[in-house]
């Protein structure tokens, strides 16, 4: 009786020891992985910082200006080149209602739309062809 109990207890002890060892081993492994990942993150952050610094160095307006002068034929913007949307001419009225089933037929039905005077810069003629 006692012997069986002893054997059982010893067995339990060995299992427990093995289990504890496994946990400890696993935790060490995880800790190492964590430390490794931390250093990697750190290195990546450092690399990002270096690249960002590099980027903004290449992005400096002075450098861009030099390059633009050498390679592009662009000139500074003239104030006259700006305009507002308000100054755009009105869109001419549609010759054909957009939901017409038979566009040509509706043109024939309503012939005076073709007489729209071309007041704006966009002439009505090319639209009629469509």
């Amino acid at each position: 009786m006692m012997r069986v109990l002893n054997i059982l207890v010893i067995g339990a002890l060995v299992t427990a020891a093995a289990y504890v060892y496994q946990i400890k081993f696993e935790s060490t492994r995880q800790a190492e992985r964590l430390a490794k990942l931390r250093t990697e993150i750190r290195q990546e952050q450092d690399a990002i910082a270096v690249l960002r610094a590099e980027w903004s160095k290449l992005d400096t307006p002075a450098r861009i200006q030099q390059l633009a002068k050498r390679h592009l034929s662009l000139a500074p913007v003239n104030p006259r080149q700006f305009d507002t949307l308000r100054n755009l001419p009105e869109r001419p009225p549609d010759l054909v209602p957009p939901d017409a089933a038979d566009p040509i037929g509706s043109l024939l039905e309503n012939p005076d739309v073709l007489e729209v005077p071309a007041t704006s810069s966009i002439s009505a003629a090319p639209r009629a062809k469509r």
């Binding site: 610094a53 992005d59 307006p61 913007v77 104030p79 700006f82």
Partner: protein, 580 residues
């Protein structure tokens, strides 16, 4: 353990075992006493072992183990600083990690060999100094701060004992000298010693560093009001102007009239903050905050605003400019002498010294002094920048001082301060302390003080515009942006005397003048007469055209829509006068 217990039970012992026992221990030895003593000894030894283990555990837990395990490549000595961004999020200053070389003299075996090998990798290493450092009795010495990654690799390969690397944060300014005076710079330990960098430290960053916090780079970046594109355009034009007019120095400032944000600040010659040694050169000071100047005729705008705001004069008041103004033993002349009665707009456009002097005299010394104090011209202006200069105010302010200060002589202020007052003249009468940080209009109104009536400000805008249409500021006008401005030419004081050919030219511009968004200051120090300026060296011939070029470049960047349908200033002045 079974054998000593057996005889006590009275069970006969097998004869073989008895024989062994008698041979080993003798016949009459009490085994049980001996056994107990042995057990006691075993308990004591094991107990001691566990006590030692427990003691060590407590020791490990209690002591800081950083000194125990300093690895080969340790970390961060110089502390991290937050990035500095411009108003569009472009990087102005950032941290980059750089390895630094150190030595632990007690661990170095052969000092001469170490020095020799290091010198092969770092050619400009001072061998004598390094040898001396390695021979010191200290446990830690710096050998070289900030080496390149390649050098680090090579030294690593040399495999010298007692030589190691630490990664330190190094401050870099990718845009170089672009915003040097504004940003300032740091020392080798990454502590701010000038400009915004110093302000960052004074704001608690230094304390964080001391506490060992603020080590990593994940700190909130600091956003400034400066716009890098505007900064570059201004600097580029100022450098060109400085070469063209052979000026000693040039400076420029763009101020948001409604929020007090400093969108751009340039003072050339400047320096590269990556190489802070250049900053020690006294010609490279920031003229806009650390210098005080007699602002010359640009100050007349303040005098006119004072006259209009007092309610005792209006735009139609006439001033006697028929001859020079005699005051005591001083005679005040006009540069563009008209020798007739001048109305207030004429006083401004002809930049009449006599007219402005008469205005100030009519209002009295006390009124003048109080007005300038209200506009912050008599006290030191403090911004985020640690560098600031105290205005030079006459010790005894008499009528003659009022006369000269009315047209900008005899009172030296920092240009930034003068611009703050100019902003108040045109933005509706609010004095907003300028700032280098981003600020909304609402926040600006919180800190603003009303110093002028809105009507006065309205009149000032149109006077400024009128001056750009028909006055001295004509060459600054840019089609479509409705520029207003005032020129200023003052003679510099050398050894207590005004010198005729040493000029300090200033130009303040406001655009668009009907709804002011931005103010621009251009300052040229000792510009020379060149062929193009027809023998003149006054502000209207050099500072004003420079301002025009700057505005043409920066106004589109600042999202100001050009308009070509605005009436001339005359009609606007009339309209604003009739509305009342």
């Amino acid at each position: 353990m079974q054998s000593p217990a057996l005889p006590a039970l009275g069970v006969p012992e097998p004869w073989r075992r008895r024989l062994v026992r008698n041979l080993l221990y003798g016949k009459s030895v009490d085994r049980s006493v001996k056994a107990r003593a042995r057990i006691g000894l075993a308990i004591a030894v094991f107990g001691l072992c566990y006590a030692v283990i427990a003691g060590r555990l407590v020791m490990y837990a209690a002591t800081d183990n950083t000194t125990v395990r300093r690895s080969y490549s340790a970390d961060a000595v110089a502390t991290a600083r937050p990035d500095i961004l411009d108003r569009n999020g472009e990087i102005l200053a950032t941290d980059v990690r750089m390895p630094s070389l150190f030595g632990e003299p007690h661990r170095i075996i052969d000092k001469d060999e170490a020095v020799e090998l290091l010198a092969t990798v770092i050619p400009d290493l001072d061998a004598a100094e390094v040898r001396e450092r390695l021979s010191s009795r200290r446990r830690f010495v710096w050998l070289r701060r900030e080496i390149t990654a390649k050098q680090r690799q090579e030294i690593h390969r040399l495999g010298l004992p007692g030589i190691g690397f630490m990664h330190e944060n190094k401050r870099v300014y990718p845009s170089g000298p672009l915003a040097s005076h504004l940003l300032g710079h740091v020392n080798i330990d990454n502590q701010g010693i000038a400009g915004i960098e110093k302000w960052l430290d004074s704001r608690g960053l230094a304390d964080l560093h001391l506490a060992g916090l603020a080590r990593d780079r994940l700190q909130q970046p600091v956003e400034l009001a400066v716009d890098m594109r505007v900064q570059h355009a201004l600097r580029d034009e100022l450098i060109k102007a400085r070469t063209k007019y052979k000026a000693q120095a040039a400076a420029g400032l763009v101020l948001d009239a409604r929020t007090g944000e400093i969108v751009s600040m340039v003072s050339v010659p400047d320096y590269d903050p990556n190489n802070p040694r250049e900053a020690l050169d006294p010609t490279r000071i920031n003229r806009l905050t650390t210098g005080v100047f007699e602002m010359g005729s640009t100050f007349k705008a303040l005098t006119l605003a004072m006259a209009l705001d007092s309610g005792r004069m209006n735009l139609n008041s006439m001033f006697d400019a028929r001859g020079a103004l005699q005051y005591g033993k001083h005679t005040i002349h006009d540069y563009h002498g008209q020798n007739r009665m001048l109305s207030m707009p004429e006083v401004f456009t002809y930049s009449s010294n006599i007219g402005t002097a008469r205005m100030a005299l009519a209002l009295g010394v006390e009124h003048h002094k109080q007005f300038l104090r209200r506009l912050g011209q008599l006290d030191r202006l403090r911004t985020e920048l640690p560098e600031s200069a105290e205005p030079i105010v006459p010790r005894r302010w008499q009528e003659i001082n009022t006369v000269t200060i009315a047209f900008g002589h005899g009172l030296s202020v920092s240009p930034l301060q003068a611009m703050m007052a100019n902003a108040a003249l045109v933005n509706g009468g609010l004095l907003i302390p300028p700032t280098f940080r981003k600020r909304t209009e609402e926040a600006a109104i919180q800190v603003a003080t009303r110093v002028l009536k809105p009507e006065t400000s309205e009149k000032m805008r149109y006077l400024m515009r009128l001056n750009a249409e028909k006055g001295t500021a004509r060459r600054a006008d840019v089609d479509g942006f409705y520029v207003g401005g005032k020129t200023g030419t003052s003679e510099k004081v050398v050894n207590g005397r005004y010198v005729k050919n040493k000029l300090l030219n200033t130009f303040t511009a406001v655009f668009p003048a009907d709804r002011p968004r931005y103010l621009l200051l251009v300052m040229l120090d000792e510009p020379q007469v060149i062929a193009e300026t027809q023998g003149y060296a006054t502000s209207g011939w050099n500072a004003a055209p420079t301002a025009g070029l700057v505005i043409a470049r920066i106004a589109p960047l600042l999202a100001i829509t050009p308009r070509f349908d605005l009436p001339p200033a005359d009609q606007l002045i009339l309209a604003s006068a009739q509305r009342r």
